[in-house]
Assembly symmetry: C2
Homo-oligomer: 158 residues x 2
């Protein structure tokens, strides 16, 4: 027990690294446009899917449902997102980017990609590939664990 070292504990290692990277990245879109992490994820997802429900964003962007709801509301207030009640099913809302939303995302994306590139450049091609494979194997352990939180669909390799 007294020989236990937090710094070599894998979950801790991952948490520290991930948090540091997230914080640095958040500066990129936070300072320039006041965008938060959840907002960033919603914008990015909408750029792909063109149109999505709260449920979909929740499932794909790894955000709790209430958080998606509030985030979308905020983005709508900022004019970056449009909400339309579903035609066939009036329970769900069709969420999509506005012109402004696309513009803002277009301004943010280059810096985000440039930052990621700096990270990836620090790794050899082999390391990068193994990094992905390792992540996949760790996810697999949790997939087999009934107590582990479910994996969001986006992250599940088809």
């Amino acid at each position: 027990m007294e020989s236990f070292d937090l710094s070599t504990f894998l979950p801790y290692r991952l948490a520290i690294l991930s948090e540091r990277i997230s914080r640095r990245l958040a500066l990129e879109y936070g300072r320039s446009h006041g965008i938060s992490v959840p907002e960033w994820r919603v914008l990015v997802h909408l750029a792909r899917s063109k149109q999505a429900s709260v449920r979909e964003i929740h499932s794909y962007a790894n955000l709790e449902k209430p958080r998606v709801s509030r985030t979308v509301a905020k983005l709508q207030a900022a004019g970056m997102v449009r909400k339309v009640t579903g035609k066939q099913d009036s329970r769900l809302v069709e969420i999509s980017l506005t012109e402004k939303g696309q513009t803002v995302l277009g301004e943010i994306l280059p810096a985000a990609l440039e930052f990621e590139d700096r990270l990836v450049q620090a790794l050899s091609a082999e390391e990068h590939a193994m990094c992905i494979e390792i992540a996949e194997k760790l996810h697999a352990v949790l997939d087999d664990d009934p107590l582990a939180p479910m994996r969001s669909q986006l992250d599940t390799p088809d």
Copy 2:
């Protein structure tokens, strides 16, 4: 811009994996003893250092200073930690584990280690080593970045 895929974005990948692992691990000490992540880190650090100030825990366990303060107060209220005003320097407090704190940690630790072991077992020795090396290289990128948040001392290889 429309070809950007969040799921392959390295910072996102790391965040998702790390969060999932953290949540699962938190169940281990949360369900059995009502211990939260910050409390877990403080306990673990104290088990090593036997005695520490708020500042030290802050620097080594990657927790904000106010958070350490509150966490320690809560642990003290629960009888797991002892706080004594410093002898020479009465600004700092000497924080240490009580009997109860050691007992609780002793009950939590095996499950935590067993969980980590399940993760590590999923990796080959080579993968495990490379995982650490990759983390180190990514940290190095941030170390060179003036805008990146500082790295806590614990995680800095001597």
